[in-house]
């Protein structure tokens, strides 16, 4: 059986599930951001696979993947800046100890 659309989509679903598990369970805020990056990459694989196998001449999926990469870069920059700001004021980046807005 040659490699088709389903193989890429299932690879994308596996990577997304790994990222989801990590983002739900990790305490270190930087590791949570890393898992979110894995999830965004999984979505990009699905986009490019759809673009390759369903509309090979239009490339709309690849355009969407480029925009997802832009948003992921902005998210990583702002997220890491927030983490460093929290570390400066509270000396920890454990997500269970950052409970300033919990009541």
């Amino acid at each position: 059986m040659s490699i088709g659309l389903e193989h890429y989509l299932i690879l994308s679903a596996i990577l997304f599930s790994i990222g989801l598990y990590g983002a739900l369970t990790k305490r270190n805020a930087i590791v949570i951001l890393m898992c979110i990056e894995i999830m965004l990459n999984a979505v990009n694989i699905a986009m490019v696979a759809f673009s390759r196998f369903i509309t090979p001449a239009l490339l709309t999926g690849q355009v969407f993947a480029i925009f997802i990469i832009v948003v992921a870069a902005a998210e990583a920059a702002v997220g890491l800046a927030i983490i460093i700001a929290i570390y400066r004021s509270r000396e920890t980046i454990e997500s269970t100890k950052i409970d300033l807005m919990k009541w």
Partner: protein
């Protein structure tokens, strides 16, 4: 045939690297295996004949975001504490496995309308046409530029010394 072998190698290495990001206790080693995961995703783009996206993946993710993440790990000195899990480990595992099962079931049982047309190569000029050309995504490109400017300014304001 060569593409099939390349796909299986990239898929196995990519999933193993992603598992290493989640399971390794050392945060720095997790960041290094995240770089490996990004690299295999770039390889997947190349065998999907998305050459421009593969280069963008290497430049932006491996060249930019990985360096940013490693810099943040260096700045926060939490390397020796590792990355322990919280109390939600078993429920999160159940949620992830159920999600994967539902996704795999629907993906396999959906009748996709596969097109047999050959892929475009190279994709760079076609991508430029659909991004900047007539009736393309030019408004979204402008919004993305504004978003990046806002993100850079926000990051500078957040980490500036008072």
């Amino acid at each position: 045939m060569g593409l099939d072998i390349a796909f299986w190698i990239l898929a196995v290495v990519g999933v193993a690297a992603a598992l290493a990001v989640v399971l390794l206790r050392d945060v720095f080693r997790a960041a290094l295996s995240l770089v490996l995961c990004f690299l295999t995703v770039a390889g997947i783009y190349v065998i999907l004949s998305a050459d421009f996206l593969g280069v963008v993946q290497v430049l932006v993710y491996i060249g930019g975001i990985s360096v940013l993440i490693i810099l943040a790990i260096m700045l926060t000195r939490e390397v020796q504490q590792g990355s322990p899990s919280n109390r939600l480990r078993i429920p999160a595992l159940i949620v992830a496995v159920i999600f994967l099962g539902v996704m795999a079931f629907t993906l396999i049982n959906t009748p996709w309308q596969i097109s047999t047309a050959p892929p475009l190569t190279p994709t760079t000029s076609a991508l430029a046409n659909s991004l900047l050309g007539e009736g393309g995504f030019i408004l979204a490109v402008e919004i993305a530029a504004t978003l990046l400017l806002a993100a850079i300014l926000g990051a500078i304001v957040l980490v500036r010394e008072k």
